[in-house]
């Protein structure tokens, strides 16, 4: 878009000049602002903060919640470790009781073995397998 005469006329109007004394004042004041090293120290912290923010940017609350859950898990685990020997000692049966129950089990097993011995009738039904040649001979006889 080319400027028309009116726009050209406006463009040709010179703007006011910046007061010359401002240069020294502004530059001196700018230079006497907090030293860069202090800014640098602050910027290191702000950089760390920035990095952390970048990692946790999506939801800091979620990370805080996760951390809290881990704390609870550790606390519970610590508590259970402390209690476990006592619980085991309390719940473990006495040796004499174990022996008694073992004897009972052996006795029951012996009774079962005695009752379940195979009788002769069953044995007759279960004929021993014959050789294939004999089976064929039986078939022919029939």
């Amino acid at each position: 878009m080319k400027p028309d005469d009116f726009e050209k006329r406006l463009q040709n109007q010179p703007l006011r000049q910046i007061p010359t004394e401002w240069r020294a004042e502004i530059l001196q004041s700018a230079a006497s602002s907090p030293h860069p090293s202090r800014t640098m120290r602050r910027s290191v912290l702000s950089t760390i903060n920035h990095q952390l923010s970048a990692v946790l940017w999506f939801n800091p609350k979620a990370w805080a919640g996760l951390a809290a859950i881990w704390v609870v898990i550790f606390a519970l685990q610590f508590k259970s470790q402390n209690n476990s020997p006592m619980v085991a000692a309390a719940s473990a049966p006495r040796p004499s009781t174990i022996l008694m129950s073992l004897k009972d089990q052996q006795q029951t097993l012996a009774e079962l073995m005695g009752n379940n011995q195979p009788n002769d009738a069953d044995q007759t039904h279960r004929a021993a397998p014959k050789p294939h040649s004999e089976r064929r001979r039986e078939t022919v006889l029939i």
Binding site: F6, Q11, L27, Q28, A30, T39
Partner: protein, 170 residues
């Protein structure tokens, strides 16, 4: 303590443009000085601020525009009426001995003051910074079309406002 050399270079190369832009925006010489001071103090504190800027002038104009908006907000509405009065008094153009030229510049300055700030900024950057609409859009953080339309609205209002005196001296 001497100013960092880069700061001096930045001042020498850009302060005049920033001054004119600010004076047109704030319409107050003291406010212009305060904002300009703020800009250079920030540049001194943050030497890396300009690193990576493709166009220093465009970056500084943008920084200045944002600082001026913040400054005006901070100043609030308390001085609103005073500012409106002051806007009519200040001239952003150089003085001239020729009364016709002086009258035209005074009228031009008043016509600019009557424009909304966003149109005034677009007109200023287009006419006196020779910015393209793309550069204006970048500096003012607006779209290319918005930059073009703001300039067009602004220049049409000024044309209308200055028509009598412009026809007279043409």
């Amino acid at each position: 303590m001497p100013a960092p050399p880069d700061l001096e270079r930045l001042y020498d190369e850009h302060a005049q443009a920033l001054f004119a832009f600010l004076l047109n925006f704030t319409r107050d010489e003291n406010d212009t000085r305060d904002v300009l001071q703020e800009i250079f103090t920030r540049l001194a504190r943050e030497p890396d601020l300009l690193r990576g800027a493709r166009d220093e002038r465009a970056f500084l104009i943008r920084l200045t525009h944002n600082a001026a908006i913040d400054f005006m907000r901070r100043r609030g509405t308390r001085q609103k009426y005073h500012d409106q009065f002051a806007e009519a008094e200040i001239s952003i153009f150089a003085a001239d001995e020729n009364p016709d030229v002086a009258a035209f510049r005074e009228s031009l300055s008043r016509a600019l003051a009557e424009l909304p700030e966003d149109q005034r900024a677009a007109v200023h950057l287009k006419l006196w910074e020779n910015h393209t609409f793309e550069q204006i859009a970048t500096a003012l953080n607006i779209s290319h079309n918005t930059a073009a339309s703001r300039y067009r609205y602004g220049i049409d209002k000024m044309r209308e406002r200055l028509r009598p005196i412009y026809e007279e001296i043409k």
